[in-house]
């Protein structure tokens, strides 16, 4: 299927529309990290970083970096008024304890029951690394996975059962991809929106698990072209 898909930035921009005003939010590596740039105007959200920052602002400008003020990806950042610093322990009281409102992580696979695999490709060389993803996945009252709909080889990343090592079970609430917005409902996956130019049947074809949907499925409204 060679139709155009959303860019990574467009996925991030669509994901940003899921954030309620006033939300406390953790963003993972990859596409989720781009979400911060697309928070709708008029909305204020407070970004959490698992190394002990609440109220993280944009990346530091070149020449203004403070290497004691970095995000979980080691990137020098800034803080907004009302920010606080705390320990990694307390940062994970926030994640695991369910105190954040929305977390957005990247994904390698998501299963139809909302299992997430996002930390290790089977057979990959090296030790791998978990980081904070397991704590975040388990605790998030609302977990959004923002990822490409298919792997580079075309394999669907939304599957009946994950074959990659799991991050957490039954944790994902919504998947936002370059083809669709899909909600994990108690018994099934529900196709909520399709990317411009795509039909529900075409999205289903790219998906490894059954999608249910209403007779008519709206097309994503994207804030950026």
């Amino acid at each position: 299927m060679n139709k155009p898909r959303l860019t990574r930035e467009q996925i991030a921009a669509r994901a940003a529309l899921e954030l309620p005003d006033g939300a406390y939010v953790n963003l993972g590596w990859g596409i989720p990290n781009l979400v911060a740039s697309y928070v709708p105007s008029g909305i204020t959200v407070y970004f959490h970083s698992e190394n002990g920052i609440l109220g993280m602002g944009p990346r530091a400008k070149p020449g203004e970096e403070d290497f004691d003020l970095v995000d979980a990806m080691k990137v020098p950042v800034t803080v907004m008024p009302g920010a606080s610093f705390f320990s990694q322990v307390d940062a994970h009281v926030m994640t695991r304890g369910g105190h954040l409102d929305v977390c957005i992580l990247g994904g390698l696979q998501v299963s139809e029951r909302g299992d997430l695999a996002n930390w290790r490709v089977p057979g990959a060389k090296g030790a791998g690394g978990i980081g904070g993803a397991m704590d975040i996945s388990v605790g998030a009252p609302r977990l959004i996975v923002a990822m490409e709909h298919n792997a580079r080889d075309g394999a669907p990343k939304i599957v009946k059962r994950c074959t990659y090592p799991l991050t957490a079970v039954e944790c994902v609430h919504t998947v936002i991809t370059d083809l669709a917005v899909i909600d994990v409902a108690p018994e099934c996956l529900v196709l909520r929106e399709v990317a411009p130019g795509w039909t529900p049947a075409e999205v289903q074809e790219q998906t490894g698990a059954r999608l249910r949907h209403a007779p008519s499925v709206p097309t994503m409204v994207l804030p950026i072209g």
Binding site: V79, P81, G82, A83, F86, G97, H99
Partner: protein, 226 residues
């Protein structure tokens, strides 16, 4: 948790929705850090059958005393009800209020576990004492421990010194006590504070309770009911 406009105009508004039967954590120790103004508002509001978690059970009419006096409390989990808890002691002796006694540090730790998403932990405290009754005992590395479960509530009533309008809190001296952990262990945390300052006025390095744990803020200057 996201709550826009956390600042409430009055004490009464901050506690208006508390239903009968609610479980409420109350900060304060030794006369310091009690949310006395919120307690007075709850006395006016009149919610009944409350399940209360607090280090102590009031000092005369002060602190939790007024809520016992008004017979608003059905059960209490406490470390040290206290000799000054006149109304509680009367109702306890009459079998009108239930009490679970918990060692002070375990009271803290059970609330911390709740706030941290930990359902239960093993504790060395109370092993071989009446506190251990009915609790699972287990050995680790040759030492005995008992299983303690997390403890949280519907609401936390806390007292802080200063809040910014987002809900970041700083405390004053020994007024800190149970307040920060209770802020993490309730669905809705209500903080009465001496002073509300603008966002950005608190140093991020010195904030003790980050805003994510606080849902309602109300200013209550300098009233002390001890």
């Amino acid at each position: 948790m996201a709550h826009k406009n956390k600042v409430f105009p009055t004490l009464d508004a901050a506690v208006a929705d508390i239903p009968d039967g609610a479980s409420i954590l109350f900060g304060g120790f030794g006369g310091a850090g009690f949310p006395n103004n919120l307690i007075q508002a709850l006395a006016r509001q009149g919610a009944k059958n409350l399940r209360v978690i607090s280090n102590n059970c009031g000092t005369g009419d002060g602190e939790l005393g007024i809520l016992f006096k008004n017979r608003q409390i059905r059960s209490v989990i406490a470390a040290f009800p206290g000799p000054g808890a006149k109304y509680f002691q009367e109702q306890f002796d009459a079998g009108e209020v239930e009490l679970e006694l918990v060692p002070q540090g375990i009271l803290c730790e059970r609330m911390r576990a709740y706030g941290a998403g930990i359902p239960a932990f093993y504790s060395p405290v109370g092993v071989g004492t009446e506190i251990a009754r009915g609790k699972e005992e287990r050995s680790f590395r040759g030492k005995r421990f008992i299983l303690e479960e997390a403890l949280g509530g519907d609401y936390a009533f806390i007292r802080a010194h200063r809040a910014d309008r987002l809900g970041n809190l700083v405390y004053r001296k020994a007024g800190r006590n149970f307040n920060p952990v209770m802020a993490t262990a309730a669905a809705t945390t209500i903080a009465e504070v001496e002073e509300i300052v603008e966002v950005g006025a608190l140093d991020p390095e010195t904030i003790v309770t980050p805003s994510v744990f606080v849902h309602r803020i109300v200013q209550a200057k300098g009233q002390r009911f001890v």
